[in-house]
């Protein structure tokens, strides 16, 4: 008699399973073939790997750019990130500042192009790669402060949370979805207020939002708090 109950039970079960799975995992993945955002035509193909990439593993002391990266810190060029909500692009004078002394690449087409802009006193019209919708206001400063200054994480790791493995790219491309659910998936969790080795700033109470950090460390010995979750943190 329960013969004909099988189908509906199966269907309902399937529906429940799918919906609960979908509800638990709201993060979409990038659907392009190489799991990266679209390729972008920049006025000059800036080789991030050359500047920020790791040094030649065979000869770590050799910083000859032809043989590997130079491991320049992200913040050497993107200096605004730690001081402003926007990371910004270094002013042209910064590129020139180094390149006017590097004779070896002076005649490479990209560098020639760069000097053309300099001579014309025109800024390079770089295209935005991680271009969030206008109503989203991501604050670079806060994230740098939290991860790099407060928790002493390496810059490339901290930046890489959102920007991906830029040191291996030439022209930067998006690696994460940057969807709201993706941002939120981090903010909704309780994180340690300071990581091991991190430097506490002030009395630390001021970066939580809905939940106050616990007064005492939990069993594992860390004080945890949830990331800010007001809509107005990012949308204004």
């Amino acid at each position: 008699m329960y013969r004909f109950l099988r189908l509906p039970i199966l269907l309902v079960g399937l529906f429940m399973a799918v919906s609960s799975y979908a509800a638990n995992d709201p993060q979409p993945t990038l659907t392009t073939e190489d799991s990266l955002g679209p390729e972008i035509q920049q006025p000059i193909e800036f080789p991030h790997n050359r500047h920020a990439g790791l040094r030649n593993p065979n000869d770590p002391t050799n910083s000859d750019p032809l043989k590997g990266g130079m491991e320049i810190d992200c913040q050497y060029c993107h200096t605004y990130a730690r001081r402003s909500a926007v990371a910004g692009i270094p002013p042209l004078q910064k590129c020139i500042g180094c390149h006017q002394n590097i004779e070896s690449v002076r005649n490479k087409p990209r560098i020639v192009e760069l000097f053309k802009y300099w001579d014309a006193k025109k800024p390079v019209p770089w295209k935005k790669v991680h271009d969030l919708p206008d109503f989203v206001r991501f604050n670079h400063e806060r994230h740098i402060k939290r991860f790099v200054e407060q928790q002493n994480r390496p810059t490339q790791e901290a930046c890489g949370y959102c920007h991906g493995d830029v040191k291996s790219m030439t022209v930067a491309r998006r690696q994460k979805t940057l969807s709201m659910g993706w941002c939120a998936s981090c903010h909704e969790k309780a994180h340690p207020v300071t990581a091991a080795g991190g430097t506490p700033v002030g009395d630390q109470a001021y970066w939580y939002s809905f939940q106050k950090p616990a007064a005492k460390p939990d069993a594992s010995g860390v004080v945890k708090a949830q990331g800010p979750n007001d809509c107005w943190q990012c949308h204004k």
Partner: protein, 176 residues
């Protein structure tokens, strides 16, 4: 042993009833009045159940399961959604407030009940189904049809009963 279908049409319900009674009474080998006989009628005759024997209906169990699942799903979907990220206070109310959730649970309860009931109906009534090979459009007008599925051997006995009761029309499936 191959089986064959026979269909007889009758103009009114009383006559059909007599046929059914006789078919049940007659012990014809290869024919089981309980399983092999189907009565098709243009309207719903509660009496059919009486003379065909009480057959259970399971639709209400679907209803129960559907309604309960709908209600539970409703409540937990809503409360979970509220409690999940961007759990923010609204209008000074708790993040998971009961009155609105009950209202929505109530609606989901009904929604689940109705949907699963329909599902149950389709399952229990065996719909959608292919049309059986013997069917007369007169059934959808005013005739009552009696469809039997019998062993080859019993066909003639059945047919005799049909004829005896002055069937308006008898259809017989061609032999295989």
């Amino acid at each position: 042993m191959s089986k064959r279908n026979l269909l007889a049409l009758y103009g009114n319900f009383e006559e059909a009833e007599l046929v059914v009674k006789e078919l049940r009474a007659a012990s014809i080998s290869g024919f089981n009045a309980g399983d092999d006989m189907v009565v098709k009628s243009p309207i719903e005759h509660p009496e059919v159940e009486e003379f065909l024997g009480d057959k259970p209906v399971y639709v209400q169990w679907f209803t129960l399961v559907g309604a309960v699942m709908g209600g539970l799903l409703g409540f937990f979907l809503i409360s979970g959604g509220q409690a999940n990220f961007y759990m923010q206070l609204k209008g000074g109310k708790p993040i998971v407030p009961f009155p609105p959730n009950f209202i929505l649970t109530y609606e989901m309860f009904i929604l689940g009940g109705v949907f699963i009931t329909i599902l149950g109906f389709l399952v229990c009534a065996g719909l959608p189904a292919k049309r059986s090979s013997l069917y007369s459009r007169k059934v959808s007008e005013d005739n009552i049809a009696i469809l039997v599925e019998v062993e080859e051997a019993a066909v003639s006995a059945i047919r005799a009963i049909f004829v005896k009761h002055k069937a308006l029309e008898i259809q017989e499936e061609a032999g295989k």
